[in-house]
Symmetry: C2
Subunit: 485 residues, 2 copies
């Protein structure tokens, strides 16, 4: 009975979601007509540039798996492999610019440059060059895409397309959709492969929710009978062998944390199906007073490192931001600052902020330094010789348990001073990523706790970020989940 | 050449020390004459009490291994095993009191009561009852003592007595002499056994300084060929099989830390022989201003827990103090206060102080609480159910690495409040020892950092203790040691 009710709820919710995410016939036609026009324009531009190009629609529009709320048109031009790399890149960009003349254009860069353009009503268009290669003879990273389209198309039907749309929307809602570095989540193609494997949205979630160790999917059975070799071949936590290239993990972009979040969200959803997984409530930023009171409630030290524009496309920027975040966290911990959590925020206006929350922003000046165990005679002698006379020694050396110990002056006992000192020259030595180091080397600002107030009250997106940081709970974890089993 | 110089120095120092510690003929005669008189008095008192007692001189006076600076007269009365325990204790004390009438008397208690008395010039006299038993048929803890005397006497000569006196004085100087609980060090009898084993003071130190793992001594060879069984039979780090009782470790009182200190001091002394090992400089207490500046230099939080008289003999008192110290340290650490060091001080006037130095006296209010790893599905559900709605939850639950984590309100974030709460009722629940709990249950006082100033400036012995705590360096570790190899 209970199961029956749940199935009903699931069906009801799925229907509601499908209603939102499935484009109407009219919308489909509009997008397709826009796409056709663009394909034509790319063809013309290519001809004009004197390049032999096979122009194709790829991605979710080609496969009719796009979400109505955010169509994303991918137009690929397959160029001859005879073109040298440099020409390939230049001419690709030139054609794309020519074809989208009059639209808002942004140059992007994955492995090679491509163009992002936007229509008046914000539909995104990606115009991407790739090489026209035979399967397996990949030259550039995007060469597989047409094969992905060709692989998926004949295997999809109306039902599966709906399941894909549900899965994509669920992943968006949970925050694990998108293979870009910033997200490190599931690509649209990966969603399609998951649906092909498990036939339904719920099937994918059930499989995820029962996950214990590795998650291995080999739809084409390339590794049949030797699946246990997969984790040795691919190092990622989720391994989905790409049907068009058995040497590639189609899930290589999925960071472990997002796989785990997806698993946890799947379980919660199956237990407590709700529309909110697909459409979480927008975070409402705390008021300034609420923020102050939250900070006081924590009693920790929140340190914000703010710096300006880093000239890099999103994937590069986020790669560098994450690398810098890891490096600074490590540096802080090596200096005995106990990091509770850390995070990073960046906006399109070139404002970047790293957050480190530590238990104490100031440490005692004295620090225990462990020496050798007594049984190591020669080392003990050296230790005594070094520390008995040292100006750094505060107390000792003395014997504790079975070793010499000395209490020495801590080099850095204030987190702000420490960060200033390490970042002053850009911070390359402590592992700040190169492009970020260039920006930081010019200027950066450190704010502690309520010093962030001014920025908080003038940057609504930042305020939302800080609010979410303080809340920390994934948006799909709701109080109701605590009541039901 | 260098070795020759060192031997000379060693000999010179030994001669100086012997000159100080060896009683003159006149002093010997005085002590022996005093001892004889006391033996006579004990005999008379025993007769008067109608008890058949064999009265004997034991210990360092009997064996002529006493240090001139602090003679310690041990008079034992061996009583018939037919005496019931209660009578034995009562009558023993009665005889002792009668025999030392007119002298200052202090009742003491080891396993059973005995009497400590002091002559006008502060010579200590212990009058101790024991049972007159056959070897191996021990009834009370002191029954072995006469056998120890009988064992050592025929094996000692003038030379060995000097070596024993050197070793005792060295151990006193280093702070590891005395089997009482307060010290947990080497007894006089143990010093004698060590000299019998190694023939000389330097021999003992050389053996100690080369120690790597266990130190096993079986002078009578009771365990010959199966020495490797000894660490299984006895659990202590130093095992010296008692020649009069192969089932007893004559070094069982030696705490590991003191064994290790002795090892380290032995090495240092052999490298840099100096009179200071035997006669360390008295600690000069810091002035109040110096103390404040030292505290500031450390930047830590020093917490002093002060309480009044505990009615117990020293061995019981110190056992309880150490137990309480360990229990409170553990309690503080369980509450996330990071203890740098701790210590305990007590004086004869019934003032007791425990010291805990922590990195931070206040912790952030928020505390990370790790939940189950994601693969444990049922546990994850319980964790979410428990924390999503809880009033204790500050942030989360969220996923970190591969597990759920929640940030909760810390129960205690102030060390003073915590200690007050845990000690208010005497602290039995957190492991405060029984007799101390009775005292603390009535009243105690907590002082933090400079709040200790008043006590510091009125109690010179306490001031010395705090100064030594802050210095932490064993007094025999000298700056000169750093210069020579």
């Amino acid at each position: 009975m209970a199961e029956h009710t749940m199935t009903l709820t699931l069906e009801k919710i799925s229907a509601q979601v499908l209603n939102k995410v499935t484009p109407s016939q009219k919308e489909r036609e509009e997008i397709l007509s826009l796409t056709e026009k663009l394909v034509e324009k790319v063809k013309v531009a290519a001809e004009k540039a004197g390049v032999e190009a096979e122009v194709r629609v790829e991605g979710s529009v080609a496969k009719d798996t796009w979400l109505r709320e955010e169509p994303d048109i991918d137009i690929f031009m397959r160029l001859p492999i005879s073109l040298p790399r440099e020409t390939f890149e230049k001419v690709g960009l030139k054609i794309a610019k020519q074809a989208t003349k009059g639209l808002k254009q942004v140059e992007r860069f994955a492995e090679h440059p491509y163009l992002e353009a936007f229509t008046e009503n914000s539909t995104r268009i990606n115009i991407v060059p790739c090489y026209k290669v035979k399967p397996g003879e990949w030259v550039s990273a995007t060469d597989r895409t047409p094969f992905h389209t060709d692989y998926a198309m004949p295997r999809l039907n109306e039902q599966l397309r709906s399941e894909i749309r549900l899965l994509k929307r669920f992943m968006k809602g949970v925050g694990v959709y998108g293979a870009e570095i910033k997200v490190g989540g599931f690509s649209g193609y990966l969603c399609e492969l998951l649906i092909l494997q498990y036939n339904s949205f719920v099937g994918v979630l059930e499989s995820a929710s029962n996950l214990r160790d590795a998650w291995l999917i080999d739809y084409e059975g390339y590794y049949k009978g030797r699946e246990n070799e997969l984790p040795k071949i691919f190092e990622e936590p989720l391994i989905v062998v790409d049907p068009v290239d058995k040497g590639r993990n189609a899930a290589s972009a999925v960071r472990k944390e997002h796989l785990i979040e997806f698993v946890a969200a799947s379980r919660e959803f199956l237990q407590n199906p709700s529309l909110e997984f697909f459409y979480p409530q927008e975070t409402k930023a705390l008021s300034s007073n609420q923020l102050l009171s939250e900070m006081k409630k924590r009693g920790s030290t929140l340190v914000f490192v703010k710096f300006g524009q880093v000239k890099a496309v999103p994937d590069v920027l986020w790669g560098q931001l994450y690398k810098t975040q890891r490096a600074l966290r490590k540096m802080l911990e090596q200096n005995d600052f106990h990091v509770i959590r850390d995070s990073v925020w960046s906006n399109d206006q070139g404002l970047n902020i790293l957050v480190f929350e530590v238990e104490h922003g100031r440490l005692p000046l004295v620090k225990k330094h462990l020496g050798p165990p007594i049984r190591k005679k020669a080392e003990c002698e050296n230790f005594l010789r070094k520390h008995v006379c040292s100006a750094e020694t505060v107390s000792g050396p003395y014997i504790e348990d079975d070793r010499w110990v000395v209490e020495i002056k801590r080099k850095h006992n204030d987190i702000v001073t420490l960060l200033h000192e390490k970042l002053r020259d850009g911070g390359r030595q402590v592992g700040v990523a190169e492009l970020i180091s260039r920006t930081i080397g010019k200027a950066f600002k450190i704010m502690v706790n309520e010093q962030v107030m001014k920025l908080y009250s003038t940057e609504p997106q930042f305020a939302k970020f800080v609010t979410e940081y303080l809340n920390a709970k994934p948006r799909w974890v709701k109080k109701t989940h605590a009541i039901k089993v």
